[in-house]
């Protein structure tokens, strides 16, 4: 049996599919960056709470992290998109569902909140590796708790955890592909759409793979620049 399949790589660039792919890439970038901003700041916030000296804050942040880490991202996304608008009751629900681009917002928020739980764990690990000495030194100079976290602990922890953060930022762009399930027309969605239009899904998905590959390399390059820029002198570097 020979291969009865005729490859047609032009589905990656010919009209209108090339434009579809570019639109998909643009949306993947948007999703990734917006979610990254949410995940970064919320992750620092929740991670700091995880290490805070107040029991209630620790409890709240632990529940947050455990829930978001132990439920598949796909289920979280469906929850935000299908279930959450229903919470507001019938009349408001119809108004919410009428918002154009609701799936896009759900994807950004969902991806951001999910990744924040993972960033928070790294931030907590960063705090744990700093040690008690610096914390006590900061307090003994007369800093308040807030000043100590803001000026000493968070900047130090962030510089320590840059390598695992790189992995998380890579994962954000990869996970943004799940947004296709609620109809956000990002790269993976577009490659699937090209398949339903042309039956050449193999070429389209292969092309999409290289898009993610290039995107991943760009993230790694950027992060390694940030890492050298912000490395702590005197520690073992690479």
């Amino acid at each position: 049996m020979g291969l009865a399949y005729k490859f047609d790589w032009s589905v990656l660039w010919r009209e209108p599919y090339g434009e579809w792919m570019l639109q998909g890439i643009w949306l993947t970038l948007q999703l990734g960056f917006l979610a990254l901003i949410i995940a970064f700041f919320l992750g620092i916030f929740v991670g700091t709470m995880r290490a805070a000296p107040w029991k209630l804050l620790r409890l709240v942040s632990t529940i947050y992290v455990e829930i978001f880490r132990n439920v598949p991202f796909l289920v979280q996304l469906f929850f935000w998109f299908y279930a959450v608008p229903m919470i507001f009751g019938k009349t408001l629900q119809f108004k919410i569902n009428a918002i154009s681009g609701l799936n896009y917002y759900a994807a950004v928020v969902g991806l951001g909140l999910y990744t924040a739980s993972r960033v928070a764990e790294h931030v907590r690990a960063g705090f744990a590796s700093i040690g008690q000495g610096q914390y006590q030194a900061a307090l003994s100079t007369g800093m308040s708790q807030w000043q100590m976290y803001w000026h000493i602990m968070i900047p130090h922890a962030l510089r320590l955890i840059l390598p695992p953060l790189t992995t998380e930022f890579l994962t954000i762009f990869k996970n943004s592909s799940v947004a296709m399930t609620i109809g956000v027309a990002e790269t993976t969605f577009m490659s699937y759409k090209i398949d339903s239009d042309t039956f050449h899904g193999l070429e389209a998905t292969t092309g999409a793979m290289f898009v993610y590959l290039v995107l991943g390399m760009a993230v790694v390059k950027t992060m390694s620049y940030i890492e050298t820029r912000f490395r702590i002198h005197g520690l073992v570097g690479r």
Binding site: M1, L3, A4, Y5, E66, I67, R69, N70, V71, P72, F73, L74, V75, Q76, F78, F79, Y82, A83, M86, I87, L170, K174, N175, S176, S177, V178, M180, T181, T188, S191, Y192, D195, G201, L202, T205, T206, A208, M209, Y212, L213, G216, M217
Partner: protein
């Protein structure tokens, strides 16, 4: 209150069983292939090393959904007839997870002292025997917490087989939801099912981590 769940309970749970089955296939294949990938990543043979490294770096930069689609598209071309989504999904999971388990095994192998391997060779063990009796058992024991964590992630990932129409829990939930329109309770139920298993799994992982730290083998 829970009417939509109760009315469709057996239908939904059968879907969850498919998630479990898929996870078991993915783990069995992924860990076995992962051992080979891990060995390839520490291989002194440049051809083996570079081809395995290329495979790992390529797959790890690609979303799982895309890998699932890719195999879903290529399998019918290779086999010549439409493919069962379960088998297609299982193959993509094995190929995908093997790279993650491979990196875990590489870390495990690299934690083993070179002297131990030299000792094994000097007693006359071949490469295969050294890998089978020395490297793999020690690596598994040391890397057990990471392996459990990765297994939990794999289990969560099985929900993504949704995209090729596999009748697993999330797909069945969307079907039930389209008839009953009870999104809040249905998706909370799905989240709770996954949460229980993954939470227990993460505790087990942490238990082994503590235990091995106490026993000082880490």
């Amino acid at each position: 209150m829970f009417d939509a769940i109760i009315n469709n309970l057996s239908y939904l749970l059968k879907g969850f069983l498919i998630n479990l089955e898929l996870a078991i296939c993915a783990l069995a294949g992924g860990i076995f292939l992962g051992i080979l990938v891990g060995l390839g990543r520490i291989s002194k043979n440049v051809w083996v090393y570079h081809s395995v490294t290329l495979y790992v770096n390529f797959i790890r930069n690609i979303p799982l959904i895309l890998v699932i689609f890719w195999f879903y598209f290529i399998m019918p071309i290779l086999v010549g007839k439409p493919m069962d989504p379960f088998i297609s999904a299982a193959i993509s999971f094995v190929v995908f997870e093997a790279t993650y388990f491979g990196e875990i095994f590489r870390a495990g192998f690299q934690s083993i002292s070179r002297d131990l391997v030299s000792a094994a060779y000097s007693t006359g063990l071949t490469y295969t025997q050294t890998a089978r009796y020395i490297l793999v058992p020690i690596a598994i024991r040391r890397m057990l917490p990471s392996m459990i964590t990765q297994s939990i992630i794999t289990f969560q990932d099985t929900s993504l087989a949704y995209v090729i129409g596999l009748q697993e829990l999330v797909r069945r939930t969307t079907i039930v939801d389209s008839m009953e329109v009870r999104s809040i309770q249905l998706y909370s139920f799905v989240a709770a099912l996954f949460f229980v298993i993954c939470f227990v799994g993460s505790r087990i992982s942490r238990y082994y981590e503590m235990k091995s730290r106490e026993a000082n083998i880490l």
